[in-house]
């Protein structure tokens, strides 16, 4: 990740091969907040009997979205995940897009605390929530 990417939403995902491979799209980026979505695809399925996407794909979306929220901070020059916890509330409905929204809720000199929620079309009932701690590498001259 680099600071250039924050000014061009399309380039942000393009710069992350794994996010691109999973078909992620950056929908919104504001300082401290990011929204990234991922379309339903057969290769993301974790349970062939139900067609529900794998929890791992949801974690990848959450991790990317939280990282993007950190990078959206004006002072951020780089970030890495320290830890991330995902709570899976319910299976995402097969065929629907999953949208994640992440917020940096506390920023310290070296660590950013981030929360995220993932939803499908039934936005009132979240699919998953996440909380994580991320490193922040600060730009030298700002």
């Amino acid at each position: 990740m680099s600071t250039e990417t924050t000014s061009d939403p399309g380039a942000f995902i393009a710069a992350l091969p794994h996010a691109r491979a999973l078909g992620m799209r950056l929908d919104r980026l504001e300082p401290g907040t990011a929204e990234i979505s991922m379309g339903y695809a057969p290769e993301l399925v974790g349970d062939p009997a139900t067609g529900v996407i794998h929890g791992g794909a949801v974690s990848a979306l959450m991790d990317t979205c939280c990282g993007a929220a950190v990078m959206s901070l004006p002072e951020a020059a780089g970030t890495a995940t320290i830890d991330l916890r995902i709570d899976y509330m319910r299976p995402a409905t097969p065929g629907q897009r999953v949208r994640a929204e992440a917020q940096c809720y506390h920023v310290t000199r070296h660590v950013v605390f981030v929360r995220a929620t993932a939803r499908d079309d039934d936005a009132a009932r979240p699919v998953a929530t996440a909380t994580g701690a991320f490193t922040i590498e600060r730009a030298a001259h700002r």
């Binding site: 091969p17 794994h18 062939p48 009997a49 979306l61 990317t64």
Partner: protein, 168 residues
């Protein structure tokens, strides 16, 4: 009179077929290229390096999401395998009837926490999971992933799972 033990090839073939049915049926495991190596009932997951796993191309490093998915896949397969193993070895389940559309119900993840210890290098990754508690309804599983050096894991995880019940 005791029955003579089964020929070793028959036993191996049955166990390998069951594992292949369990792993091969999941599209996302195939997408990530994850395979499993079996020694008796012990499983080691391997995720060969691939460009599509990269998160940060500057380093390059494996995407945290790919690492997390790798650990979660390892934990779920370990748990499913322990259920399948019991069923299979007791003779209650015939592995020949297993196929991707006809698998036992899989455990469902309740929560999963990953610690990223160091960045994932552009190399093959390995992982093992350990079931620390397996009850009728809930299970706790730890997993650890490493690359070149077994003693230097690059990520570890702990997860809680809802066990598949007879009522689904």
């Amino acid at each position: 009179m005791r029955q003579p033990p089964e020929p070793v090839q028959v036993v191996k073939q049955r166990r390998d077929a069951a594992l292949a049915a369990l792993v091969g049926g999941v599209p996302y495991i195939r997408f990530l290229g994850i395979g499993f190596d079996r020694r008796g009932d012990e499983l080691t997951a391997l995720m060969p390096f691939d460009d599509k796993l990269i998160g940060d191309p500057r380093l390059p490093a494996i995407h945290g999401g790919a690492t997390s998915a790798f650990l979660e896949v390892t934990a779920i397969i370990e748990l499913s395998w322990s259920i399948l193993w019991e069923e299979m070895e007791s003779g209650r389940l015939d592995p020949a009837t297993l196929d991707p559309q006809n698998l036992p119900r899989l455990p469902r993840t309740i929560d999963f926490t990953v610690d990223y210890l160091r960045s994932g290098l552009p190399r093959d990754a390995y992982a093992r999971a350990r079931i620390t508690r397996s009850g009728r309804r809930y299970a706790s599983v730890q997993a650890e992933a490493w690359q070149d050096n077994r003693a230097r894991p690059f990520a570890q995880a702990i997860g809680h799972f809802l066990m598949p019940g007879p009522d689904g």
